[in-house]
Structure formats: structure tokens, C-alpha cells
Subunit: 435 residues, 2 copies
């Protein structure tokens, strides 16, 4: 070969080495198991969609970041999230689905983000949504808190907080104060944790809101307390507004249901500043933070929306959902040195035939282990014993099973075989069933 | 909403309804479990790669079918297979990998195929490859036959045949007959099963090959028999050519090793006409056919190559691998009505709280089932009992667990609960642990 192309991938793409990949896969498997235990159904939509479908809602930041396919006929592009494809899926297959429709999808999405550390152009989203036909019980909103909590517990983060709020509470409040552009204000107050009270005050006054109103709003969104205390506070305020009252009622109902699940109270709370900048949420909103790593930001967010698929169907399809940005989460965990511990092994038993004549029996031994559900590799390459052991060790195999000519001649699968235990360093004779 | 966009996907893309998706996922899970039991490691490469990497080998049909990303800087495109990304991965991460490197990847690839039934533009490939550093034992070639056989058995196809051959045998034969453009001849004879002896004769004579040589070649590639008979036939021929002899030796070795695995002899045979049109194979080649559905063509193909990553590194990396085109296989099985049977259920126990006051206890019951590893959904929407049962039935839940006010007041998790068994149609009282 004369011309060698340098092997490399595009910037903003994550590619893992086998050991890291195994850890990443473990995270996905854990999340999937939790989703499935709650009866969520897997769907798998195309990575490429028609542009008219992706942009039915129209423009915004997302459209600028899109990966477009070169094509002279139908304009098409890569999905930038899993919610738009879900909306299209539910509208398209409406008559074939049973509602409430509980789906999960763990797949890659694409955004042409600015190239910087920790920002990815191809990344996994792990989404669940529950879609109702015409209506959907608020009990679903509570279940999602339980599910998030279970996922982070199983991933061994005990110190996390799911913060919930309700958009109607904020919208009602803004109505009450005669604020017109609610979305703009929501986006500003959503940042209070990051930028602080001062900065939010300044931005709000630049929007032409009176100082006293700003103070009231900020006092409101920064009110802290146990769930019951916050609910009492909200009920006690003299805010006469239907949306507000409905929001407080919904928030109370969600919290009551969360109580049924016995979610650890340290793992969730009401945070009246949570708004979720995206404008399609209409009720409950969620954000999840790891207390020890606030710099990561929210690791699981979502909310309730009144009408999932309004751009594709006249059916009223309310829903509630959450999303975990897995690639970014994994990257951050790695940066923090939190992924090293759980070294996954792809091979549990490395079978080492000492010579070609031992091969048949070595394969028999391997087969026996596989029947017991084990991951087994036979080392076919021969060569020096030390090199074989070294290979097994590098692959993190806990055991090497050594098949010499004596064992091979004996041929009995029940005989004792020499086993090297890489954890203890010991080498001993055992039967397969003893292992 | 005034303007509704018709919800639809692009032609040539497969999207499944939940029940079909569950079956498809079952197939993937089965294949994955087999791969992992043989110590294969999962890797996950980006869907988008640099064009210079994808086309390092240069042009051909594939380049015309490529999905290019609109981009003014780095030319980039979607992968069209998983082998090129593997070659790039192994070259790029060479010093971090342990050889033999056994990887699997089950992912989507993209080809702008002509739009016709059963041809997909986005489809899953399920690949395994074993890559050696400098050399790789022929025993690996045999193991792949065992793996293919195990996969199709577990997928409940007992009537399949893995046909193997060795490219060196054919190349040696062609050398012996002084045929210059071997690749061209390989492509012609590869089609003999489809187009018949006559058509192949004609095409070969158009290539300027003498009638007698053509007859000899066709007699050769159509020789049928048990493994031992074919090997004897190959050894008995008076073909003096080193490549040929090496090929026969390799084929014999592979068959000897396959024998060690006790692969059912009805599931594999030597087929001297198998050539695999792609020109990078250099030794063993595989094709797999379902006897009852020959029209599907090969469902699992692959082979041995001398140098995986020659376009990206100077390291000599021989390998052997196979690929299953899952999307097409699934489509064909569906067309043949072979996917209906195994209706997967996403919910094993549908819990039906009869009124809001039963909710807390219903959630407790659900939790108990989940602790036992079950898939459980609580029906939150209330309404008529018949509608609830209907929903449970439509989702294929085998059991509905009915929580009335009596049970809810009792609160004991050990009490007997009314259970509707959808299989027998019976309704009876049982404790959770009895279920």
C-alpha cells in the first residue's frame, strides 16, 4: 500500500476503547432494564427523516445545527432528538397503537454543536415518554420520578436530587403579574442557579418588569423547603389566577403520588425556579442533579406537554417524558475519574490449549462453560505460555484454564483441570463444576 | 394548528410497530448473547465518518450509493458497512488493543440502494470479526461456523446450511488454467446457483476462456459430496499449484476443527462454487442458506482476509469475520409469515386499581412484582373495567391483577388478590407469591 490515510474520526464524536465501551453498555443495559420493568416498549425510528417532518415546528437554533443529507430529491436530515420522531411515529401509527403508549428509545442523535470539550455532535439520548389519547393521568408524572430515582440508584449514585416544578404555577404567577412574554422570562429565571440573583434581576428589569414585581418573582422562585412546606407556601399566597391554582393542584397531586412510591425524600424536592427553557412543556417539569458534581448540570430532564404531535395530526395526544443525555454524562463521569472502577470483562474463562493435540478437549471444556452461561474464549494462537497468560490477564479474564496433553488424553470432562485465578494469583486443580 | 405535515418516513427505511419491534429486538438479543458467550467485545463506531477514511480503498459501486453530509469543511458521509470502520478503529487504536481482537458490532449502515421491495437504505448489520496481529490461527475460521450454527439454532431455524469454501482453492485452480482476471471469473461462477450452468458457460466463454477449461472449472465447482469426499476429490486432482495446495490444506484444517465442535453435519458442507464476489477475501469464505427459503439468498456471509487495515496502517492485520444482514432477514421472515408466532409482551402483569383510593396499594403490589424481575404496568387512567381489561389484553399482558377497595383497605401484601389469566380466561384469587 503506497498511500496510507491517517485513521481518525471527526471532532465531536465519541468513540470508546473496549473496556470503556463495556462500562457504557452496562449503563445502557441498566437503564433499559428499569424502563422495561415499568412496561415501556422499545421503538427504533430511522436516523434519517424527511426535513419537512423534522422542521414541521419550524426553525430555531436546532435547524441551524442540523446534519443535512446531500440529496437532489427529498430534503432529508439526521434527527436532532428523539421527541420529534416519536411525535411523527405516534401520529403515523396512531390507529395501530394502544394508549397510554409507553415507549423508550435509547439511540444516537445529531447536532452540529460548536466544537468544544464535552459537547458532542453525535450523542445518545435515553428517552421514555407516556402518551395518552385525549387525556393522561397525573399519576404518570409521579411514576417518572420513581423511575429516574431507581435508575440513578442502580447506577450507584445515591446522592442525587430530582427537582420538580410545574409550568402552570409559573405561568399563572406571570399572568397574575401581567407579564406578557412568559417564555422569555422563563428562560431568564431558569438560569438563576447558574448566574445568581443579581444577574437575573438585571435581565428581568431590562425586559421592562418593575422592580417590586421582580423581587416578588425572585422571592417566589427561590423559596426553599420540604415538599409540604412548599405546597403550603404556594397555597398561602394570595395569587388569584386559575392557571396558578391548577398548577399548584397538579404539583400537590404529583407529590402525593411520589409519596406512594416511597422515593427517598433526600432524592427529590420542589424547586420553583425550574422552568426548562424549551417552550413545549405545559405542566410538570423535571431536572436531576448529582449533588457531588453540580458542574455536570442536569443529567435527566423532561416534563409534561399537552399535545405531542400537533404538527402531524389533529388528535390530542398529551404526554410526559424524560431524557438522559448519556454520552455527555459518560464523558463527565470519565473526566471525574468515576468510570474506572467497574472493569468489565468480556471473557470469564480463557481456555489455553498447550498444544494442537489438546484442541479438541479444550473446545469441549469451553462448550461446557458456555452451557453454564459463561463467556469463554479459547486461545487458538499457540506460542509461549507466558504470552497466553499475559493476553488473558490483559483482557481482564478472572480465570485461565490450562489444558495440557495429560488432560486432553484423559478426555473426561469431569476430571480436575489446572486453573489460574488472576484475582488471587493462585494456580490450582479443580473440576469444571467446582469452578 | 393550521398546517399539518403528513407523518411519514423516507422510502427504503424500515420502521416497526411495537410487537414487531419486540421480535426484532429478541433476534438481536439472541445474536448478542451468542457473540458474548464466545468472548466477543462490543464496539460502537460513529455513524458519520470522514469521507477520506470511508473511501480510502477507492470508488466502486459503494461510493455511488453513499449518503453524504452537506458540509463545507471536512467531507463526511454515513458508513456503508461495519468493516471499513472496524479497519479504521483497529488501525487508530492499535496500541490500545489486545490481539487477537474479537469484536462484535450490531448497528445500522446506509446505502442509497435503488428503491425496490426488500432493499433497504438503512439496515442493521450484525458483524463479528477476529483480528490477529501478524498472524491468526485457522482454528478461528472453524469457530465462526460453530457460532453461525448456534445462532440459527437459537433462532429456531434447524434447517440451514453453512456452505464453506476457500478462495485459494479457486485462485490456485484459475492459476493452473492460466486465467488472468480471477476476480471477474469468481464473480461469474459465484452466480451458478442462481443462473445455472448454461449461463455461466456462456459468460465464461465470452471472457475468452476455452471450452474445455470451462467444462473442467464447472465440473470442479459443482462437485458435491460429504466433507471427506470433497477433500479427497480436491487432493486427488492433478493440479500442481502451490496456492491450490495451500487452499486445500486450509479447507481440510477448517473442516477438521469444525468436527471438534460437533456441528451437526446437515448444517454445513463444502461448496466449491462459493466465491463471494467481494475481492478482499483471501482464504475461507462462508455463505448460509435457509433450506426452506432459498429465495432469501445467503443470510450470513463472510470470510478470511489477509490484511484488514492496509489503507490505514502498515501493520499486517489478518482477520476472519461474518455479517448477518438483519433488516433484510427480518423483512423476508415477515413476508413469509414467520414472525407472527412469538408475540412478545412488554407487560407481564397489568395492575388495575379500581379507584383512586386503591392506588397506593396497587403501587405496592407492582413494586413487589418488579422486585421479582417482572415487567409491570399500573393502569393509571381509571374508567370502565372492561376498557382496562381490553387494554391489558391488547398489550398481550398474560395477567391482569385487580386491586379493589377491599384489597386496598386490607393493605397486606401477602393477601390473596384477584387475577385474570388471559391465556386460560380464568379469574381467580391468588397471593402474589403464588403467581
Amino acid at each position: 500500500m503506497e498511500n496510507i490515510v491517517k485513521p481518525s474520526i471527526l471532532p465531536g464524536f465519541m468513540e470508546l476503547l473496549p473496556a470503556e465501551q463495556a462500562e457504557f453498555n452496562n449503563i445502557i443495559d441498566t437503564i433499559k432494564a428499569v424502563y422495561e420493568s415499568y412496561g415501556f416498549i422499545s421503538i427504533d425510528t430511522p436516523v434519517i427523516e424527511k426535513a419537512e417532518v423534522l422542521f414541521a415546528k419550524g426553525g430555531g437554533e436546532t435547524e441551524k445545527q442540523i446534519y443535512k443529507i446531500e440529496n437532489d430529491k427529498t430534503p432529508q436530515a439526521l434527527r436532532f432528538d428523539l421527541t420529534v420522531p416519536l411525535a411523527r411515529y405516534v401520529a403515523q401509527h396512531y390507529s395501530d397503537l394502544d394508549f397510554p403508549f409507553r415507549r423508550y428509545q435509547i439511540s444516537k442523535v445529531y447536532r452540529g454543536e460548536r466544537n468544544q470539550k464535552g459537547r458532542f455532535r453525535e450523542f445518545y439520548q435515553s428517552d421514555i415518554d407516556i402518551i395518552g389519547n385525549g387525556s393522561l393521568s397525573i399519576a404518570n408524572d409521579a411514576e417518572l420520578v420513581k423511575i429516574i430515582s431507581e435508575i440513578f440508584e442502580r447506577l450507584n449514585f445515591s446522592d442525587f436530587v430530582i427537582r420538580i416544578n410545574n409550568r402552570k404555577v409559573l405561568n399563572g404567577l406571570f399572568d397574575f403579574y401581567n407579564i406578557e412574554d412568559k417564555t422569555l422570562v422563563l428562560r431568564v429565571i431558569d438560569k438563576i442557579e447558574k448566574v445568581g440573583r443579581e444577574a437575573v434581576c438585571k435581565e428581568l428589569s431590562e425586559l421592562g418588569i418593575q422592580v417590586q414585581t421582580i423581587e416578588s418573582i425572585i422571592d417566589f422562585i427561590t423559596f426553599k423547603g420540604e415538599v409540604d412546606a412548599v405546597i403550603s407556601y404556594l397555597k398561602g399566597l394570595d395569587i388569584k389566577n386559575e392557571t396558578y391554582s391548577l398548577g399548584v393542584y397538579e404539583l400537590e397531586q404529583v407529590c402525593k403520588h411520589i409519596g406512594y412510591y416511597k422515593v427517598n425524600t433526600k432524592n427529590f424536592r420542589i424547586d420553583l425556579s425550574i422552568a426548562r427553557g424549551l417552550d413545549y412543556y405545559t405542566g410538570t417539569v423535571y431536572e436531576t442533579f448529582l449533588n457531588d458534581y453540580p458542574e455536570i448540570g442536569s443529567v435527566c430532564s423532561g416534563g409534561r406537554y399537552d399535545n405531542l404531535a400537533e404538527y402531524y395530526t389533529k388528535q390530542q395526544l398529551p404526554g410526559v417524558g424524560i431524557s438522559i443525555g448519556l454520552t455527555r454524562l459518560f464523558y463527565q463521569l470519565e473526566q471525574l475519574g468515576l468510570t474506572r472502577g467497574a472493569k468489565a470483562c468480556s471473557v470469564e474463562y480463557m481456555i489455553l490449549p498447550m498444544e494442537e493435540s489438546c484442541m479438541e478437549f479444550a473446545l469441549k471444556v469451553a462448550e461446557r462453560f458456555r452451557c453454564k452461561g459463561k463467556k469463554v474464549q479459547v486461545y487458538f494462537e499457540g506460542g509461549k505460555f507466558k504470552r497466553m497468560l499475559n493476553y488473558a490477564n490483559k483482557l481482564n479474564a478472572p480465570y485461565a484454564v490450562i489444558i495440557g496433553s495429560e488432560e486432553a488424553e484423559n478426555q473426561q470432562i469431569t476430571q480436575q483441570i489446572t486453573v489460574k485465578d488472576f484475582v488471587t494469583g493462585e494456580q490450582k486443580k479443580l473440576s469444571i463444576d467446582e469452578l
